[in-house]
Symmetry: C2
Subunit: 144 residues, 2 copies
Amino acid sequence: MFSKTCEYALRAMLFVGQKSKGGKRTGIREIAEGIDSPEYFIAKILQELSRKNLIQSLKGPAGGFYLDKKGMECTLADIVSAIDGDKIFSGCGLGLKECSEKKPCPIHSEFKKIRKEMHDMLQASTLNEFDEKLERKLTFLKRV
Amino acid sequence: MFSKTCEYALRAMLFVGQKSKGGKRTGIREIAEGIDSPEYFIAKILQELSRKNLIQSLKGPAGGFYLDKKGMECTLADIVSAIDGDKIFSGCGLGLKECSEKKPCPIHSEFKKIRKEMHDMLQASTLNEFDEKLERKLTFLKRV
DNA sequence: ATAATAGAGGATAAAAAACTCTTTTATTAT
DNA sequence: ATAATAAAAGAGTTTTTTATCCTCTATTAT
């Protein structure tokens, strides 16, 4: 569905969101451990997200990644778009470059519906709202 | 969403389905041209589908690929499963190896719903039903 | 039987994605 | 100012996916 890179990105953002209360910051190592991802790889991904202003960061001692109030309003759709692009939200299910109402592929309308639901769902989900469930350990970001 | 390989596979199966009336067969070259895919690559993919009995083939002059009556009842879900496996139907949206009702990722239930719709849609679509629209040029398998 | 055709199978190559390492730069505490 | 810390940046490497080529085998028509 999403690329592996994107899966890591989503998990990392959820993780940092959860850890960002009270102006706290989280380092790469803690993030990698917290979401069970390769350390250097998630570092690269967060760099990219930082460049795109989806996450904030600070260098130096007591530095790390964090999300401010505005940052916590980031939606899952924003993250997916930033990493995987919009293909999943608008591309043709059969991979046709040209696929539209006028020249639809055989499953155009069915796919459109599913893609829309996916987009709506991700768009409606801001990082904010996952906090509580993560805190109460009702949901998880890694096995065990 | 699907791998490129899978997209080619779906298009090829739809194409062969459309061409299989009256016991006719279609050669690799015609298929590659008809769905705008690399010739040698789609050959490989059809080999795989043939091994898994999703498509029939015959060597020699006037040989080629075809679908018998039973073959035309193949669903799009069958094709996706054969090529991409079931990850898209059952895998976790955030890529967690363990993600279940008991230990759900933050978007577990939302994803479950979408994946189910996707599966239902693909499962409900047999190759049969696309014939007429393709024939009447209401849907397409390549640009132009 | 023979030649021509067309898929099967194995090997290889190119491109993209996933992942790692090293150096540089910014920040903080002493 | 200096040392320590932690992210940024750049340059790799490895693995997976996508794509190509070549030889072999089955089938058909002559």
